[in-house]
């Protein structure tokens, strides 16, 4: 054994550098999009399930939100983006 095994407890590891921050930002926004897509899908699922209570995958895929639901979707989407973007920009959010 050539090294202190405890060194494995907290190994020194080169991770992100300052020059990686732009790539990190791109990844964060991509993640935000993915989270939003899932969030959107869940809300639509609930809306359609409430109507049918059956397998509604295709209906979800082709579902066009009505004005009321679209308004809710927009509101939720903007809130999620704001939380993530504000975090990135060092702005405290109310939520």
């Amino acid at each position: 054994m050539s090294a202190d095994p405890k060194s494995y407890n907290k190994p020194q590891r080169n991770m992100l550098l300052e020059t990686d921050v732009n790539g990190l930002a791109q990844a964060v926004v991509t993640l935000t999009q993915e989270v939003w897509v899932l969030n959107d899908r869940q809300m639509v699922t609930e809306a359609v399930l409430a109507k049918h209570g059956i397998d509604i995958a295709e209906e979800i895929d082709t579902f066009t939100p009505d004005e009321t639901l679209q308004s809710k979707l927009d509101e939720r989407s903007r809130a999620i983006m704001q939380r993530v973007f504000n975090s990135l920009g060092g702005i405290s959010s109310d939520e």
Partner: protein
């Protein structure tokens, strides 16, 4: 756009496009924070450097200390590089059902003359305008993707003044109630061509653009509405038409996509192909001369990171003088309130 041409996106594409449409709202706190910082560091825009590059360097240096500004740049970069991809992916999800419809509307009175063997000009070839990956002709249906998804579902929702209402307003500005033959120079997917046709229902309309994919979409739009547009893959500055062919020569939001010498050539070409007594109307982005130094910087930075290589030179030109130099008389220029946009130049070819 005809309802049949308006794709019914599937959930992933629809939600992703909605995400993009809400992007500006999601960035509102960041933007407010950056705006406060700008007001603090630029109390007097007139004190900024005259040279645009030096001005940008000063602004970048000052704003670089703001975490919120750095975040707007990073998030904005994502939007710049991803909007075209998201739109393309949304289309691919519905491609199978949309393709027969798109093919159907490639038949009809509206026609396209492709010109694949003609060498594209250096100012256009290989340029990813608006940072659309691969440029306008990268995807088989790039014109459709931009017309139906990027323009209609994204830009139209947030653009100040409304992209379609502005086109209708400008199309109605020429002095005559009727034109027999109109040329739309740089017609792209046909948004302005449509406004022209709706304003002058009996007019015979010709359109030219370097991008084959965009004029193919204009063709679909024309056929879906029963119009007979003659569309050519040709540059606006070299249309190939006979002298004195048209009664009205137009362009809408083309000029900032071409270099200064090409703009001058385009005005001369418009003069050449107009009949004596014909009218000209060209619309483009706000002139830098109509903006203070801070607003110029905002526009210039937007162009720099938004895939607009010719914006600065174009927006710095005196288009009215260029129109006069080309031979037009009774030249007027007007920046429309409240955004000083669009900037519209009109003129007349003497009898």
């Amino acid at each position: 756009m005809s309802e049949e041409l308006h794709a019914r996106l599937r959930q992933r594409g629809r939600a992703s496009v909605d995400f993009l449409a809400n992007f500006g709202f999601g960035m509102s706190d960041l933007r407010d924070s950056v705006e406060e910082e700008i007001q603090r560091i630029v109390p007097d825009p007139d004190a900024l450097p005259d040279d645009l590059d030096q001005r940008d360097a000063r602004m970048q240096q000052s704003l670089g200390a703001s975490q919120a500004y750095r975040a707007t740049q990073a998030v904005g970069e994502w939007m710049a590089t991803h909007h075209g991809l998201v739109a393309k992916h949304a289309f691919e999800e519905v491609r199978e059902e949309m393709e027969p419809i798109l093919k159907k509307f490639e038949q009809g009175g509206s026609t396209v003359e492709a010109n694949p063997d003609k060498e594209a000009p250096a100012y256009w070839d290989g340029v990813d305008f608006h940072r659309t990956a691969g440029g306008w002709d990268e995807h088989d249906y790039q014109g459709y993707i931009h017309a139906d998804i990027v323009h209609t579902r994204l830009v139209a929702k947030t653009f100040p003044g409304g992209i379609f209402a502005q086109r209708r307003m400008v199309a109605a500005l020429p002095p005559k109630d009727h034109y027999d033959k109109i040329i739309d120079m740089g017609c792209s997917t046909g948004h302005f061509t449509r406004a022209l046709q709706e304003t002058y229902p009996d007019a015979e309309i010709y359109g030219v653009d370097l991008s084959l994919k965009t004029i193919q979409q204009a063709q679909r739009l024309g056929n879906a509405n029963g119009w007979s547009w003659k569309l050519f893959q040709r540059p606006g500055e070299d249309t190939g038409f006979e002298d004195e062919t048209f009664d009205l020569a137009t362009s809408y939001i083309l000029l900032h996509e071409i270099p200064a010498d090409t703009i001058k050539a385009l005005f001369k070409e418009a003069f050449r192909v107009l009949k004596p007594g014909g009218d000209m109307i060209m619309s483009d982005v706000t002139r830098y001369a109509d903006l203070d130094k801070l607003a110029q910087w905002r526009a210039d930075a937007g162009a720099k990171y938004g895939g607009e290589p010719h914006w600065r030179a174009s927006a710095s030109l005196d288009l009215a003088q260029i129109a006069r130099d080309a031979g037009f008389v009774d030249v007027t220029a007007k920046a429309f309130d409240p955004f000083k946009y669009p900037y519209v130049v009109q003129g007349h070819k003497p009898e």
